[in-house]
Structure formats: C-alpha cells, structure tokens
Amino acid sequence: MDFAKISRRHLLRGSAALTLGSVLGVRSAAAADTTIGFIYVGSRDDYGYNQAHAQGAAALKKMRGLKVVEEEKVPETDAVEKTIESMINLDGASLLFPTSFGYYNPHVIKMANKFPKLRFEHCGGLWSDKDPKNAGSYFGYIDEAQYISGIVAGYSTKSGKLGFVAAKPIPQVLRNINAFTLGAKLANPKATTQVIFTGDWSMPVKEAEATNSLIDQGVDVLTCHVDGPKTMVENAARRGAMVCGYHVNQSPLAPKAYLTGAEWNWEALYPKFVKMIAAGEAIPNFYRGGLKEEIVKCSPYGEAVSAEARKHADDIKAKLIAGGYTIFKGPIMDNKGKTVITAGTDRGQKDPELEKMDYLVEGVTGATS
C-alpha cells in the first residue's frame, strides 16, 4: 500500500525533509515522526465522553515530536476499521486510540491482528489473554470520583432527593449510581437517589425530559452518566437545581449550579503512555486505576459547596488517594432488600465482582430492568 503515499505533495515533503536532514545533520527521524490517531464516536466538543478524550489528545499535541490526527463521529461498525487503516496508510499513524467502548470487539481486535507492529490502546474494553498482545485496554475507576460527588451532593441537597440521569443499566453505570448514592449517604443517611434510564448513550431529548421530571419530583441535586452531560447540566441549572458533572468539567455551562464532578484525567494518562513507549517500557495490556493513579479526578468545588462538605469530601479523597479505603464495603443491601455484599466483605476497586454489578443499592429509587 506504499504507493498510497506517492502523491506530489508527499514527494515534495519527502525531498524537503531529505534536504533538511542533510543540512542539519543527523536528526532522529523516527522520534520526530510518531503519529498518533484518535477516534471518537461522537463530537469532540460534546462537553462529555468524547471531549474528555480530545483533551487528552490536546495534551499530546503539546509534546514535541508528536503528530496527532483525529476523527470524530465514527460509528461502531466497519467504518472504524477503515478509519484506523486510513490513519495508518495515509497518515502513518503508529499508535491508535479508538476511544469508544463498542470499537473493541471485533473491530480493534481485527485491526490489531492485521497490524501486529502497531500499538492499539482502547478505552474501556476488557482485554483478555486471547486478545492480541499489541492491543491494550485502559479504564478508570470513576466511581471513586462519583463517590466524592455523592458526598458533596448529600450536603448540598435541601430536599434529600438526588437525581441521576443514566443511559443503560449496565455494570459501569450501575456502579456509578451506587457509588454516588453511598457517598451521599455518608453526608446525609436519609438521602435517596432517583434514577431514570434513557436507554441510550446520546438521547438529548430524553435526557432533558428526565431532568425536568426529576426536578418536578422534588430533586434538587442531579448528576448523570450519559455521553454528553450538557443537556442535563444546562436544563437543571435553568430550573434552579444544582448539578454534579461527569466526564469533563461542565462548570462553564452552569457556573453557579455546578458543585463538583467526576472527570476523566486522560490529559495525565496519555502523555504517560507515550513516555512509557518512548522509554521502551511495556504498557500493561489491562490498565486500570482511580484517583490515586490519576486516571480520574474531581472538578474543583463550586461556590455553593459548604465548608463542611469540602472538608468531608477532601478527607475521603485523601483516603482514596492513600489507598486502603473501600467504597463497596459490606454489608450493602440492594433496593429490594437483598444483601448483595455481606458484612465483613470488602469489595476493593479491582474486585472482578464489581465489573458484573447488576443491582441498585438501598436508597436508590429505580429498577435495573
């Protein structure tokens, strides 16, 4: 496929580079030529999931010797395979970040097998031993940050009713809802979380309806787990409710109503990955971490957050960063009265049981099916 590159432009560029190289003497062409491809499932300025990754890509653009190419709104079909190949064939990408969950199986696996010398880092997938070695999956325990948001929300609510606009009742989402609720109960044992599932990752109309309906029922602090929290944040702020953000910092959208939020910290992780590769270190194929590993972070507190809430939240945050603090610590009951984690059982962040979560904890109003 090399003739793909023989266009007039490439020839010109190539000869220019040759001339430059011979004039300046030996320059490491390999280091200067690393091209990294980022693929997003939605728009990269969505104030949400995709923007979080784009911020990570922006951090890489600032590093020397790196070229970043990006493509947004790539569906989870063979289109992503073609985008990956196009980035490799036409742009010379050697490290790829296909960032949407649904890209992994079968598309990323297929491409990783086809290009065994290139590196694929996928967000959210569950890499297993059967998968190609040049593919890896990374993700963060963002429920830690949701737990902190829950504490702040528990102090800030006047009605004791919290709202959660969620996409689908899958383990990752349930884990966030449960962590948020457990955090809120630390601050206010009577707090309840009402959850509404919209059914898909990007349903702005349903998200707005869910937000309004929650506020109509007396909810005064909301958070969410959908791809673009913008709809929820703006609508809730307009209705006078307070919000905890998700994915990225949404405080510019609602400066007064924004309490805090659970954010990804890809701008710390991606440069770390690139440095590891440059140093010849292997990135673990299955890479996970939370606040401590700087994969997730909390938004700075908004002005409405009380000193008491800040102190409690900071205290727990420090414990989570130090390690040894467990969010899912038995006994925990689900909202149907069944014990899901028995007394004495600590489900630490890396516990695989948590990856299979299919319940809502006591204090959540809503159903998983």
Binding site: F3, A4, D78, K82, S86, F101, G102, G124, I170
Partner: protein
C-alpha cells in the same frame, strides 16, 4: 473526483450533436447522466465556496476528497466497503417507489433482518457453515421483508400512510432489538455492551478474495441488477409501473394492485434485511445496538439521488460511500468538523432534487436544435 467523471460525459454529449437521430435515440439516456453529473459538479462547487469561507483552500479539499475516496487502492476498498450496505438499503426505497410508494423504513428492516439472521445462526450451531449462511440469508430476507410488508399491508388494508408507518416501524424495530439484546438473547459475558452471542468465526462470510471488501458488495450489485430486470423487463415489473403511474387505471385493467404492493414491499424489505444479515455475517459477528448505524437512512438519500432507478443506485452508492470515506481525511488534514460531510450530502441532495426540473427541457438534447 467527479469533475473528471463529468467531463467526458459532456464531451460525449457534444460531439455527435450533428446527428439528430443519435440524440433522438439516446437523448434521454444522456440527460439521465448529464443532469445529475452537472448537479454534482454544481454541488461540489458550492461546497468549495462553503469551505473557502472557513479559510480552507477548495483545491486542497478536492484533492483530499479524491485521495480519500478513489485516490489509492486502499481508498477504493474503503469506499466500496461503505457503499455495500447502501445499495441494498437504497433498494428498500427504490422498489416501492415504482408503485408510487415512499418507504423510508429501511433501517427497521435492516435491524429485523439482522436479528432474524442472528437468531437462526444461534439456533443451529451444529449445522455446517454453508447451511448456516444460507439459513441466515433466508432469515434476513424474510425478516426484513415481512417488516416492510407490514407497512404495505397497513397501507393496503387500513389506508395508513406508508411513509409514516415505515418510519415509525424503525423505532419499533430498534426497540425490539434492544429489548431482546438486553434481555433473553443477551450473552451474559457482554457486560457493558449488551450483545447476543457470536455466530462463530466459521459462519462469517468474509471478504471478496484479494480485497478487504466484504461480500455484501456482490450481494448488493446482484440485487440491484435483479431488481432492474424485474422492474423493466418482466410483466410483474410492468404491472408495478402501471400501478405506480395510475393506480385506478391499473385496477380497471384488472391488475391485482394489493398483491403487487405486498410483494414489492416484501422484496424491498428483503433487500434491507439482507443488508442487516450481511452486517452480522461479514462485520459484527453478532447483533447489538451497533447495527443501527444509519445505513437505512442513507439508503433513502441514495435511492432519491438515483431517481429510484435500481441500476443507478450502484454508482450513487459508491459516490456516497466515497464521500463518507473521504470525510475522515477532510477532518484530519483540513481540520473540518464531521458535519461538513453532512453539509456536502445536503447540498448534493438539494442540487439533484432541483435539477429534476430540467428533465425534458433541454431542447438541445431532444435533437431539435
């Protein structure tokens, strides 16, 4: 890419002008090529101006569009892969159009076809691959076919507008798919991306040898040719066109219009259902929400651009496949947002619809000049 394509056409149109007999014979055919060609060139010119307003060089734009869509063997494969499902989904709109019906629910038939094909493959895991594949084709065609027949029957027996009912059936189809995929058909190990179990690597239909393009392209081209023969060279097709021209006249001469509607709807839905089966058997390997990638909706655009002619659908699908294949390069090289491809599609659509008014009005082409 299209400038080159259009020029020779104009040359053909101009050179034999001295022979009125030639124009009388082929004037209409030339019109069918010249007018959409000119509309396309006009649309590209307007898009160039649009891009220039954003401070990008339109010549770069055309160069990258050409490179991304048709410039290299890889680009061709990229284009053809994207065109493959569009040929079949476009038939879902083009076939009923012969009867004067506007069916826009190809997406629903695609989803139901995919679901039916997956179900049958999962039901007979012991069968040899060829049997499974044939069963999947049948199930996909029948599933999708019955789905659109539903819209046809509603129109025939209850007088429900088929445009509205077929569109609404898309959402019902998607809801059924989500319900089954997240419920009884869910593979318990698909934790965060609810999916059915996989049909198995042995049952996948794979790519056309020597290329990356899956067999869906061949299915599409064969289906388009078969539809063309059916519509223009059989009694059945003639009856359909008579009914499409004047339904009362058709009834008076004793044509079974109701039967025609149901049969054409079945074939139309069958084509889209086949597209769904191919997405499962050639790309995804299982059914999940990824299948709702909008092929059914792009197919409507293809059918209208092709003026509902089954043969014209093939080049138009390749053209739109090319536009979407080059979209990535426009994003990466020119920094244009993804929506710019939609802008181009929109401009082309408007130009082609507006150019409809020109048919039969170019005196020169009637050989009367």
């Amino acid at each position: 890419m299209t400038t080159e394509a259009a020029d020779p056409v104009e040359a053909v149109a101009v050179s034999p002008a001295a022979d009125p007999g030639f124009l009388q014979r082929y004037g209409t055919t030339i019109e069918y090529i010249l007018i959409p060609g000119a509309a396309l060139v006009g649309a590209l010119a307007v898009f160039g101006i649009f891009v220039a307003l954003f401070g990008k060089n339109p010549l770069d734009l055309y160069f990258y569009m050409y490179q991304g869509a048709f410039g290299t063997w890889f680009s061709w494969q990229n284009t053809l892969t994207r065109a493959a499902p569009l040929i079949l989904t476009a038939l879902c709109t083009a076939l009923p159009a012969q009867l004067g019906m506007v069916i826009i629910g190809g997406e629903g038939a695609l989803l139901i076809g995919a679901l039916s094909a997956t179900s049958i493959a999962l039901a007979i895991p012991w069968a040899p691959p060829l049997v499974v594949q044939i069963a999947m084709v049948c199930a996909g065609v029948v599933g999708g076919g019955l789905w659109i027949t539903l819209a046809g029957a509603l129109r025939q027996y209850r007088g429900v507008n088929e445009t509205i009912s077929s569109l609404l059936l898309v959402y019902i189809g998607l809801a059924i798919l989500n319900h089954l995929v997240e419920g009884v058909m869910r593979d318990p190990s698909s934790l965060n991306k609810p999916s059915t179990r996989e049909i198995g690597a042995a049952n996948m239909i794979g790519s056309i040898p020597g290329t990356d393009v899956h067999w869906g392209l061949v299915f599409g081209v064969v289906a388009a040719f078969a539809s063309y023969i059916l519509i223009y060279h059989t009694v059945f097709g003639f009856a359909a066109r008579v009914a499409g021209g004047n339904i009362r006249a058709a009834k008076i001469v004793g044509l079974g219009v109701g039967k025609l509607i149901l049969m054409i709807c079945f074939l139309a839905g069958g084509a889209a259902g086949l597209a769904g089966m191919i997405e499962v058997a050639a790309v995804q390997g299982r059914t999940n929400a990824n299948l709702a990638a909008g092929y059914g909706f792009t197919g409507i655009l293809v059918a209208f651009l092709a003026r509902q002619n089954p043969l014209a659908i093939i080049p138009v699908a390749i053209l739109l496949g090319g536009i979407s294949a080059s979209g990535g390069l426009l994003q990466r090289r020119l920094g244009l947002p993804d929506a710019s491809v939609l802008v181009l599609q929109g401009i082309i659509f408007v130009f082609v619809l507006a150019s409809d008014a020109l048919y039969g009005r170019i005196a020169f082409l009637k050989g009367k000049s």
